[in-house]
Symmetry: C2
Subunit: 421 residues, 2 copies
């Protein structure tokens, strides 16, 4: 039995026919190593934007079901063209959309989760020597409705396929060449990581690193599928391998430093300090699907029977949040709302910090030495996040990157769209 390798190429990797021919070469290289290859592709370049624009011209609020029907055509184009390119280069290949494979999802449009992947047809084609080119991002319900998987959907398709097929590895080809200790645009001596654990990738994704969607990482972790993030353009660079923490040696307590500028802080002042007040507030936000990240409730001012509640949300959710706070004004009896958009969330992430005390203290001391005020703090087992003034974000990242020994001797060569860790 040959090993199965799943390769995933995103929209920029298949943006035009020359790039598709390049992808075909990368596929054939993998096949020539003696592997069975399944390729997952996204829609070409800006296809999704073009289709969305057409839909908006027709309706300000198109139905999600018809949007899925519309957007799923994008991958239909790229899988057919890639199969043709493989055939033109002498490699037997066949394209399959989600319906043909049987990538079964829940019956939810625009953001469905995969329930099951049928593998019999794929295995049949692989055993007859074909490369199988599969449409990412899309799925189908038991009732033959077309669905899409939402943001990072093609990554999720690839990882889920790798799990279902018991693939040896899933290679995510992208426009960055791996996962870095931090954003090389901020710290030029950021280091590309050779390995990182699922858990660390998840924490990094949650603090704004855009390399992989958390759902894809979760799926890989669940199936314990080895995942490689590598560049579509630098084929001799192996990128970063993402795998189980138990397979890694943890040399350093901190693996990466991340900076997230997408959040804002809201303080609800002088809320009545009655039981259930906070629950009412956060239930309200949850019911509108607003994710709250950090929360701090100040000590109650006993005399007034009030306290302040501060929390962070994504800037995009501000209008919805404001409406909910207005609605709750009488219930919460707050005096004032204060919002702050000029914040940055600086996080250090590392599976190695579990057994090493003092990491948090070292972080706080480093920021204090720079005279950077910490507005909020949150922690998990393998992550510590501090909210700071946005204007001091780069200073904070640079200092933390150095103090935790992540600086490389070389300066990262940065090209194209950049790693966001």
């Amino acid at each position: 039995m040959k090993d199965i390798i799943v390769q995933k190429f995103g929209g920029t990797s298949v943006a035009d026919t020359d790039k598709i021919k390049n992808v075909a070469r990368a596929v054939i290289r993998e096949k020539d190593l003696g592997n069975n290859v399944v390729v997952v592709v996204s829609a070409m370049g800006h296809t999704t934007d073009v289709l969305t624009k057409l839909a908006k011209e027709i309706s300000p609020n198109p139905s999600l079901r018809e949007m899925d029907m519309l957007l799923s055509t994008g991958e239909g184009v790229s899988i057919a063209l890639l199969a043709m390119a493989l055939q033109a280069q002498g490699c037997d290949a066949i394209s399959m959309n989600a319906m043909q494979v049987g990538i079964i999802t829940e019956n939810i449009h625009s953001n469905a989760r995969i329930i099951e992947i049928k593998t019999d047809k794929i295995n049949e084609h692989l055993n007859s020597g074909k490369v199988v080119v599969i449409a990412g991002f899309q799925g189908v319900t038991e009732d033959s409705e077309i669905t899409t998987l939402g943001r990072g959907g093609s990554d999720t398709s690839a990882v889920a396929l790798a799990g279902a097929l018991n693939a040896k590895r899933c290679d995510i080809y992208t426009d960055v060449d791996g996962v870095y200790t931090t954003d090389p645009r901020i710290v030029p001596c950021a280091t590309k990581l050779e390995q990182i654990s699922y858990e660390e990738m998840l924490e990094l994704a949650r603090v704004g690193a855009n390399v992989l969607h958390p759902r894809a990482v979760e799926t890989a972790k669940q199936h314990q599928t080895a995942l490689r993030v590598r560049s579509s353009f630098k084929t001799d660079d192996l990128g970063t391998l993402i795998l189980g923490v138990e397979k890694m040696e943890l040399h350093r307590p901190v693996t990466g430093v991340a900076c997230d500028l997408s959040q804002m802080r809201i303080v609800v002042c002088d809320v009545q300090d009655n039981p259930g007040t906070a629950a009412m507030l956060f239930d309200g936000l949850a019911s509108e699907n607003i994710s709250v990240d950090m929360i701090i409730q100040s000590y109650a001012r006993k005399a007034l029977n009030t306290n302040d509640i501060a929390f962070t949300i994504s800037k995009g959710d501000w209008i919805k949040t404001k409406a909910i706070l207005e609605k709750l004004r009488d219930t919460l009896q707050y005096s004032n709302i204060y919002e702050d958009c000029s914040i940055a969330k600086i996080s250090i992430v590392g599976a190695g910090m579990i057994d090493r005390p003092g990491i948090a203290a070292k972080m706080f001391r480093t920021l204090a030495n720079l005279d950077i005020n910490i507005k909020m703090i949150s922690t998990s087992e393998i992550k510590i996040s501090c909210l700071v003034e946005q204007s001091r974000a780069n200073d904070a990242v640079e200092a933390l990157h150095k103090i935790f020994g992540l600086d490389s001797k070389e300066i990262a060569v940065v090209n194209g769209d950049l790693p966001n860790v």
Copy 2:
């Protein structure tokens, strides 16, 4: 039970989002008359050309299976957008591709025939008050392979759906406003026909009239589905109704005059006059899928034991035909091949000529009076075709149109791409 009307809109009718909104209005008008409406659409405007160009950039000879996968995405876009447009105008609607409907075809790519259409899901949606928007041109095999129906495929989809659904009528909306007695570009007083029989439409299609693909007309005839060809732009014009000849009163022997410039004539000179020679020649052509239209074998020259064989083919088949003739040179022992591209096939068509003798004589006399030489003649029950010099084609059409009483008192108002009858 409400009547079902099937409406078909071609690529030019859905070429942009404004046109799609117009189509939605035409659909709602039909629904407001109290009918259940099924809409079949082609891909938007030049989508098919754009996709074909991409494929050619990748491979000079892409596999037909992958071409079908590629091209079928075009209708995926237009059905979703039309469903959105209907919803935006307050009309409940749902789009379905061929796989979702179950438009089952043979397992032949790029030119499949429909075997069966499943109607349960369509009827379910219709009964719940929805307009059902279905992708034309595409089908699916029993094994979930995507196929396409070839030229005129969307017309065929619409007519086959109308048959399967027992529709009251199938309206083909197009960029011409009906079927004319002849091409108004040649004869400005050409008349739009209110009715025409399936058989006449078939004969007209075979002699180069491009209004409807013969396969669509055949399918309508088979199910006795009333077919209406009408303009997407002039909504108050009912166009031309195509129906069974038994339902028509035949006022005139001739219904239309057509001129076909797509053919060329080939003469194979001094072929050995042995049994089976002609069979060998035409078997050779048939094996390469070359359709031969008219055939004349001259009287044998007894002394030499040879004769000449003349036939017409589509100009596009000339290179393939030449190769076959070269290959058969030794077998046929012909002296020479003579080809003639400057010919026109002029045909008169009419179900009414069956019981009226003298129509052919009248045609020949008309041409003779104009000093137009007839190079070949072929006839069917309801059609007579003459091959003439291309330079005299317009004179011939004009004269025949007049002599058979087809001239209208009004001059046809001609706009946009023109009727081709």
